[in-house]
Amino acid sequence: MTTASPSSRHRQLGLTDFEYELILERLEREPSDVELAMFSLMWSEHCAYKHSKKLLGRLPTQGRHVLMGPGENAGVVDVGGGLALAFKVESHNHPSAVEPFQGAATGVGGILRDVFAVGARPIAVLDSLRFGEPGESGRSRYLLEHAVAGIGHYGNSIGVPTVGGEIYFESAYEQNCLINAMCLGLAPRERLIRSAAVGPGNVLMLLGALTGRDGIGGASVLASAELGEGDETKRPSVQIGDPFSEKKLLECCLELLDRGLLSSLQDLGAAGLTSSASEMASKGEVGIDIDVGRVPLRERGMEPFEIMVSESQERMLCVVEPERVGEVMNVCEHWEVLATPIGCVTQERRLRVLKRGTVVADLPVEVLVDDCPLYDLEPIQPAIEIYEPARAALTGSESEAETLLALLASANIASRRPVFEQYDPVVQSRTVRRPEEADAAVLALPGGSAIAVSIDGNGRRVACDPRRGAAEAVYECAANLACVGADPLGLTNCLNFGNPEKPHVAWQLTEAVEGLAEACEALGVPVVGGNVSLYNEAPTGPIFPTPVVGIVGRLPDATRAGRLGFLAEGDAIGLVGEFTPSRTGSELEKLQGGPPRGPLPPVKASAVRDAREAVAAAVRSGALHQAHDIAEGGLAVALAECCVAGSIGARVEFEGDLFGEAPGTGYVASGPEAVVSRLGRVIGRVGGERLEVVGRLDVGVSELAATRDQGLSALLA
Amino acid sequence: MRARVLVRPKEGILDPQGQTVERALPALGFTGVSGVHIGRLIELDVEDASQLPEMCERLLANPLIEDYEIIEDVAAGAPR
């Protein structure tokens, strides 16, 4: 049985001839239409991680706080006091490029479901976004405006605060925007639940919204292919989200878990019923029967394959013991959530789809979930430059003051207030540090301690040097946490890359994963989960290789959470850490028209670790008045940001490169001289109304603030 | 019977959506457009059309800030 189907329908669904041959071999027959559709999704890049799974094994996943590692709906760490924190980051890049409002909104909806699927109440969202240059591209302004509106719409409506995030603008993202959404959730440890289906004879129930034609074929059609001409025709595949519906579903699921009524829980996301049911069965080493005739539908005349791959939002699957089904229905009725028994767990490890008693699909779970071929990457370092330099905005002859102002006004550094003002950061009353108050968001826990979280990733620097750039993302994220006094507990990552079948992208991916692994090992931070988004590429080329890193940490005393702004006249300002700035990959190099060209300078991991520990401890002690890590724009920008946040000036002496960067290695920290001089080198004092670097620049704080505040609005107008 | 209710902001109430659309049209090459207002369409099948005005007054529109127009007997198959 080695001939491919004459109609090559498998190719239309995104399966290669090799993959189709493998299916024929494993099944020992041809697959039915429904089965083929199921394979096309389960064996897509998006679901099976064909090109990345082998590589991801390199990442360290062990840690003493880890309660659930990679493989579940979200990673979970212990945060003390009997509480667990679940968190994960996911991408929704391709749908957002086609329909940014709904793409971004449903991205948030999806990550929220992943978190409450493990039994945690979502308590915060962060978003990491990438677009083309706003000053040059009307399309990028449009995508930004609508993606932000979509994130706000979903997060605000469902009552989960958006507490942080980042946005980068680079022409490399012009054709392929990146929308990565991260969610944190809190649960008493006893309420945590896994997705493995258990108990042959138990009932499979579908909760939530009606099933329609949303996103049919979305997973394989959109996420595993490069975006080309004629994207309008892909519009019907985009999912539409309803946060009101998800709010009811969330409260309902948490109550069902509090009452101990569920044996397992899984959310429905990419590839809908097919992936959820097969993954539940695979993890539980059982089988599942689904009767599509019992699935409540929104549209008439839906075929079995459509029902099995629909990506209609706001739905969950659960397994319930037969004697508990009545109670489950009562709770669901109270919350106005539709609950329908649609199948059962079986002993035999097969996924069977039935319609009115007729079997329309009957597949061994292993073949669907485990037998997808995994491909080795064939990495080759590129000999030529892949990326165009940005349009030069500066000539290099500007004064240092002019350079500082240009950086503060630039798209990647200017204040994000016009964006984050569209998000509610305070609902649920836990937020101790709001956006721009500190380098990381801080959320109070019952009992007096707090959680800190940041999301970071600089694609330009990774483009210069994938291994070192990826490591820097981890170091910088951990540095952000240190500035509020937190020690890292766990990391989630989203790997956004181009087409991995191309050797230079395969090289970027391989190097980046190695860099992430090295940095995580150096800091002792385990990876507890994440996401991969490949094929972010247009005819003009791939995006910058963009690993996005989210780290969650804990600080013992919420009242001692660090701040960003300079505090008091007379405070000593210190430069902390082995900070060796370089122009390679910096924002200034970009503004001067330099292409991303590596390598990045090496960084001593032990020095990074020591500085991180020292700053975190100093902040926690309450003795420091503020701390801010040095990132894009270098020391000058960091000092300016501290002045603006504190509405107070500073006078500093510094001989080195004011605009060079070395993420994760250096901090500005101020407070009493005795404290600061023990931590780092004293370089000046807080006070007055101007930022002065003696002999080099002298700018009023109000001018710094105005420039920074208006930067983004000016570009978006 | 199939009915349609059109709800629009009252004259004199600031309508930022309408203004935004009115400003956007010339940028796309459409000139000579003014007086743009954005409202809502509600379609429903009713057995007793005499109930429609009360439905509008009590729920479908907010009479303080909105006007409404009832269109009765919309033909089956009429453009949606």
Binding site: V426, S429 | L59, I65
Partner: protein, 217 residues
């Protein structure tokens, strides 16, 4: 003193309002489908997106069974506080004059704003001084207050701080009888120094003082 905080499907800030009220007295949740107000001394209709803001913000919530009881409670002089979406519900229900319209920017706005106490003689502001500045956050898409007729203004946005184009910078109003008060800013998010300002406590403290007076009489 017992507060009752209404919970509709889609309410978000009801738990926050419950927490704020509990700093000042006892508080219970009132489920939208129940008619039992559980003998509370004051009702809070909270912020959020009741019924998804479908049709118009607050338009559907006003018909919930609990709201019929709240309307009766208000007619009998009971204290009713409407916050943000709650303010929208009270206007839709006719318990307060006017309506809330979309922000001119058509965007959701979160901002910590300065408010001025215009009338410190009400049951909701007596714990504040006349003209006192209160720092309280707003977070809404549909907060532009409009009324064609006269209205009893209780709070205004401080000069330059109106976030939504409200007529006459109006942030909060009460009914003629003075027992129903609606405002767009969220006092329940200004009760804890750890997470922001504590100016919002004045409103809850005022309500408790008013109820205490009645009990005393």
């Amino acid at each position: 003193m017992k507060f009752g905080v209404v919970r509709f499907p889609g309410s978000c800030d009801e738990v926050d309002a419950l927490g704020a009220a509990q700093r000042v007295g006892d508080a219970v949740l009132l489920w939208h489908a129940d008619r039992d107000l559980q003998g509370v001394d004051a009702v809070i209709v909270p912020g959020g997106f009741s019924y998804g803001d479908y049709l118009r913000a607050g338009a559907i919530a006003r018909f919930a069974p609990v709201m019929e009881e709240v309307a009766e409670f208000a007619r009998e002089g009971g204290l009713v506080l409407g916050i943000c979406n709650g303010f929208q519900v009270l206007c839709e229900a006719g318990l307060l004059p006017g309506a809330l319209l979309p922000n001119p920017s058509l965007k959701f706005v979160f901002r910590q704003v300065g408010l001025e106490v215009v009338d410190s003689d009400t049951a909701f502001t007596r714990a504040a001084q006349p003209g006192q500045r209160l720092s309280i956050p707003v977070k809404h898409t549909t907060g532009r207050y409009f009324t064609p007729g006269p209205v009893h203004v209780v709070l205004r946005y401080a000069p330059g701080e109106n976030p939504n184009g409200s007529q006459d910078d109006i942030a909060g109003v009460c009914n003629e009888a003075g027992n129903v008060f609606g405002l767009m800013p969220h006092p329940e998010h200004a009760v804890d120094a750890l997470t922001g300002s504590t100016d919002g406590l004045r409103i809850f403290e005022s309500m408790r003082a008013s109820v205490d007076d009645r009990v005393a009489v």
